[in-house]
């Protein structure tokens, strides 16, 4: 039995995220009951000759419970006033068929840590306007406490309400720059 590995280069040239058809967000286990998720409305991302980078305005964070907004943007979580942006910069990108991986650094709340984003890549596709597009679907898991986001609350059984592990997700529709 043999396996065949198809390795294809990442696209060259510059591609910018079409933010209407892209999303950037997080998921975290909450109170052993389910997943709490949120996303940012204002962000940008770019793939330039295989180097992925992006940033988001954390004040544009939305969750399903608007009552949590003030707390999430406060010093106990993102401290949006002091640290208005989160970001990712890849130092190396790889593609293996429809799989993609980007090694780089992620910055949240002023703390920069190494992170590897993995997922899928699809393209090129020509959209309805004749532009070349690539679709990247990536995620990574971080320990939020390493970024100074340490809030928690004890549950009646003594366990913690909010997990330390957070999954960051990005669905990017990247359009070739004119």
């Amino acid at each position: 039995m043999s396996t065949t590995t198809e390795t294809v280069a990442l696209p060259t040239g510059t591609y910018n995220a079409d933010t209407v058809h892209s999303s950037v967000g997080f998921e975290v286990a909450y109170a052993s009951a389910g997943i709490f998720s949120g996303s940012v409305n204002t962000f940008q991302a770019q793939l330039a000759d295989g180097v992925l980078s992006g940033s988001a305005e954390i004040a544009s964070l939305v969750t399903k419970d608007e009552n949590l907004q003030a707390h999430l943007l406060s010093p106990e979580f993102f401290d949006a006033e002091q640290y208005p942006e989160v970001g990712f910069v890849a130092t190396q990108g790889r593609r293996d068929g429809d799989r993609a991986q980007f090694d780089g650094e992620i910055t949240i709340k002023g703390v920069t840590r190494p992170a590897t984003l993995t997922g899928t890549i699809a393209g090129p596709v020509a959209d309805a306007w004749g532009n070349e597009r690539w679709i990247l679907t990536l995620e990574t898991t971080i320990d939020r406490t390493e970024f100074g986001i340490t809030w928690n609350a004890p549950l009646p059984d003594g366990s913690k309400a909010l997990a330390d592990e957070v999954t960051l997700k990005a669905n990017l529709a990247l359009v070739k720059a004119a």
């Binding site: 608007e66 009552n67 907004q69 003030a70 707390h71 943007l73 406060s74 010093p75 106990e76 006033e81």
Partner: protein
């Protein structure tokens, strides 16, 4: 620096109100502490009233918070927690959630109690509430236990150790306001 002082006690001879007065006496020229005396007038919070004009006492509280660089609370401890009147006022002040006056507002908590521990549990509860509201909670704690022995009959602080703790707290608070943070940001960054 303009400090709004909020005492969690309505009692006429409140040790917590007296503690805030003691803080006022320690302020350098140019700084001031204004005591908020409207706690008694805040009606019970009712979410049905969110869309109506807020009661006058609530409007006054919100205006006072907005005008302050920092809000300093001094709370007693009732049944291991903060007084209901104080929590009620904060519930009012924290509406609407998207734009309320305590978001990013530098705040700090101190407290006094007749017992040994100086309202430390109430202080912790109040910090939790303020943080959940989105305030910027400064890391200071002054816990004045056996308060009856620390103030004279006129409500003047007579304990020099407490006075020194208050002075230390004020030094931290000066750096906690936007002006203080701006001054700190001029210092060389530490990696």
């Amino acid at each position: 620096m303009r400090i709004l002082g909020i005492s969690g006690s309505l009692r006429r001879d409140s040790h917590n109100t007296a503690l805030l007065r003691a803080v006022a006496e320690l302020l350098p020229p140019g700084d001031e502490l204004v005591l908020w005396d409207g706690l008694r007038d805040v009606p019970p919070y009712d979410q049905d009233l969110d869309d109506a004009p807020a009661p006058q006492a609530v409007q006054a509280l919100r205006a006072a918070v907005t005008a302050a660089d920092l809000v300093l609370f001094s709370t007693p401890e009732y049944n291991s927690s903060i007084p209901g009147t104080l929590k009620n006022a904060l519930d009012w002040a924290s509406r609407p959630h998207a734009s309320h006056v305590f978001r990013n507002k530098p705040v700090a908590v101190i407290g006094a109690s007749a017992g040994t521990f100086g309202a430390v549990w109430a202080q912790a509860e109040l910090r939790k509430v303020l943080a959940a509201m989105g305030a910027r909670v400064a890391e200071v704690e002054v816990a004045v236990g056996h308060a009856a022995e620390k103030f004279d009959d006129e409500g003047r602080l007579v304990d020099e150790d407490v006075r020194a703790q208050l002075a230390d707290a004020l030094a931290v608070l000066a750096a906690a306001t936007p002006q203080g943070r701006a001054a700190a940001s001029l210092l060389p960054a530490v990696a």
